[in-house]
């Protein structure tokens, strides 16, 4: 799970048969929603765990039940999640399954009908977010427009770029390039790198609209 050239700072999950099998299920248009949710959640869990692997630790000496000293370690800093409404919220449970009482901020970004550019509609973030490691949650990185805007919000609030982990299920190479041009020090944790975007700026092959499939259609 090292950085994948030529995409520095991208941590791609090991492409095991299991993972490829999970992706095949969620990409398939004939997959029913209960399965889509279950198998997406499994991938999300793997993404969160991979993200946690990159958090720094500090040595910690503890006493075991046999009264022996054990030199272990514990996490150094505090974390929080920030999800991009609505699709990003689907990843909150996966984060909570690993970090029970994690604080979760929200950002709503929508396309402005007049300018066709992404526009920030709403944000609600932990007050001390500048002191935290942040898991930015959005399942798909296509052009990177909303992710870039969300990351800008985080940096404006004082979060250090090297403390941001952007977790997503699928990204396009174009999206990764756009994103990295802006934030060379933010790490992306993903499970699939797709070839590109179609004329509607959808990922190809992608899996359709993640939010729609996870929430209602």
């Amino acid at each position: 799970m090292s950085s994948t050239q030529p995409f520095p700072n991208v941590h791609l999950l090991a492409q095991s048969k299991q993972l490829l099998g999970l992706y095949t299920i969620i990409r398939d248009k004939d997959t029913i929603r209960s399965d889509f949710i279950f198998y997406s959640d499994r991938i999300i869990r793997l993404l969160v765990e991979e993200g946690l692997n990159h958090l720094p630790v500090t040595p910690k000496s503890i006493t075991t039940e046999t009264k022996q000293k054990f030199d272990g370690c514990s996490f150094l800093g505090k974390i929080c999640g920030v999800s991009i409404v609505r699709a990003g919220e689907s990843m909150e449970q996966g984060l909570r399954d690993c970090c029970r009482s994690v604080r979760i901020g929200k950002i709503l970004i929508q396309r402005d009908e007049e300018t066709a550019l992404p526009k920030l509609f709403y944000e609600k973030l932990p007050e001390d977010i500048a002191d935290r490691y942040v898991f930015l949650l959005d399942p798909m990185l296509a052009t990177g427009g909303s992710a870039i805007m969300a990351t800008e919000v985080l940096i404006q609030r004082g979060v250090l770029p090297e403390r941001i982990f952007f977790l997503n299920l699928i990204c396009s190479k174009e999206g990764v390039d756009n994103y990295h041009a802006k934030f060379p020090n933010v790490r992306i944790v993903t499970g699939a790198l797709d070839a590109g975007l179609d004329e509607n700026k959808y990922l190809t092959p992608g899996l359709g609209d993640f939010g729609d499939r996870y929430y209602c259609i």
Binding site: Q18, K29, G72, S74
Partner: protein, 459 residues
């Protein structure tokens, strides 16, 4: 598996034959032995189960008390021999059941016996067939005067089976007594011990029990010695491709620290174990069975998915070792919700430390799955897992389909499994504690069964 030298106790069961004439009291002697031997999987097999099914004509005779049930040919000795032989070889045996009301075998009612370590074969002709005698380690003849036998038989048949006096006496004179004289009593000659059964035979049975216990003790020492031998071969487990140790990432290290810390609250402990278990299971499932399929996969935007992989989670089953393997249950169900799960109860004898198989529930057709996850939270001596693997191979599961999943293991335990299976099973371990660490007493916790105790909250 046997090629490497591991012989589980049930491939060398101790077989005891108990014969004697009808009404001699052999059944009560056999029952007393079984209840007092006090070893799991002591099995009583009555030759009454092996009565041959009768033809219509014979059945009519039987209903008129006119059929000879006491001649040796009335019992299907070939089948009895096959069953006992099967058990002697450590395989399953299916014992038929016989209905005395219909004088026929009860259809589809077979008693499956597997994993017996002591077998008591009881019946008037238990010591009659040479092939059966050759399988027996101890042959007991229960002797009583025929007058007493008749008295017991009449009491039993008239009071408990509702027969009439006339029928009883005619059967005795016509069939039971002549056969007893001609076929049953001569089997006394082949017996190792003859137990009198007139009034109180408790001293005789006590002596026999002592003898049996000392034999079983020898067997269990042998078993333990073999288990120890398996750990001593010089194999460097680090070089083996079959052993997959969880990558010691920061997160895994943190979780491990939490689980070892005695100040971690129970709530947290269970939570952190589930987390680690989920990571471990995900590792064990990385090479999930896939199936070639010629169907195309298209996304909702009508794009073709190249090289689709059809993972089939239904081709995986799991077998938990009660109770510590059950710690994985929650994470397992979260990973594969509908997985079929079997269970084995293997416990170590508190005196000798010998592992003993107490009961088993195996998913039907387990041999048809592509992968069998064998789960245990801790491996200390490795004995229970080796026994469990033997149970699976006895159920026709191939070794290379078995994946042992364990949170905490000792190097010795792992090495024993590798040796016992010729390195054919895959092992997925959260943490393996080296011999060196154990020898220098730095990790005493790795030799203590603390995982299940903490998870379930019962020491």
């Amino acid at each position: 598996m046997n090629s490497s030298g591991y012989i589980p106790p049930w491939t060398t069961p101790y077989i005891i034959g108990v014969g004697g004439t009808s009404g001699s009291g052999k059944t009560s002697v056999a029952a007393k032995l079984v209840s007092r031997i006090n070893t799991p999987w002591t099995v009583l097999i009555s030759l009454d189960n092996f009565y041959k099914p009768l033809s219509d004509e014979e059945r009519q005779q039987a209903f008129q008390n006119n059929y000879d049930f006491d001649k040796p040919e009335s019992i299907d000795m070939d089948l009895a021999y096959e069953c006992v032989l099967s058990l002697k070889e450590g395989k399953q045996a299916k014992i038929p059941t016989y209905s005395f009301t219909d004088h026929d075998r009860i259809p589809n009612k077979l008693l499956t016996i597997y994993g017996a370590s002591v077998i008591v074969v009881e019946g008037i002709y238990a010591l009659y067939d040479q092939r059966l005698l050759d399988l027996m380690d101890l042959k007991i003849y229960v002797d009583a005067d025929l007058d007493i036998c008749l008295a017991r038989r009449m009491t039993r048949d008239i009071i408990y089976r509702g027969r009439n006096l006339q029928g009883c006496i005619s059967q005795w004179e016509q069939f039971v007594k002549p056969n007893a004289d001609r076929f049953v009593r001569p089997t006394m000659k082949v017996a190792d011990a003859i137990i009198p059964s007139i009034s109180d035979n408790s001293i005789a049975t006590e002596m026999l029990l002592n003898h049996i216990q000392s034999r079983l003790q020898l067997k269990s020492q042998q078993h333990l010695k073999e288990l120890q031998k398996l750990g001593s071969y010089a194999v460097s487990i680090d070089s083996l491709k079959t052993i997959h140790k969880l990558r010691q990432t920061n997160q895994v290290k943190v979780l491990h620290t939490k689980l070892l810390d005695k100040t971690t609250s129970r709530d947290d402990w269970v939570f952190y174990f589930d987390r680690l278990a989920t990571i471990l299971l995900s590792l064990a499932l990385e090479d999930i069975p896939t199936e070639p399929r010629n169907t195309e996969v298209v996304t909702p935007t009508n794009r073709l998915v190249e090289n689709p992989i059809f993972a089939n989670f239904d081709r995986v089953t799991a077998v938990n070792i009660v109770r510590s393997g059950d710690c994985f249950m929650r994470s397992l169900r979260k990973t594969i919700p509908s997985i079929a799960v079997g269970k084995l109860l293997i416990q170590s004898d508190s005196r000798t430390g010998e592992p003993q198989l107490h009961c088993l529930f195996i998913p039907p057709k387990i041999e048809s799955y592509n992968q069998v996850l064998l789960m245990d939270a801790q491996i200390i001596s490795g004995a229970a897992i080796i026994m469990a693997i033997q149970v699976l191979t006895d159920h026709s599961v191939e070794l290379n389909k078995i994946k042992v999943v364990v949170y905490l293991a000792t190097e010795t335990g792992i090495r024993r499994i590798v040796n016992a299976t010729n390195n054919k099973v895959e092992i997925y371990a959260g943490e393996i504690i080296s011999d060196e660490m154990i020898r220098t007493n730095q990790c005493n916790w790795a030799r203590k069964r603390f995982v299940a105790a903490n998870y379930f909250g019962c020491k």
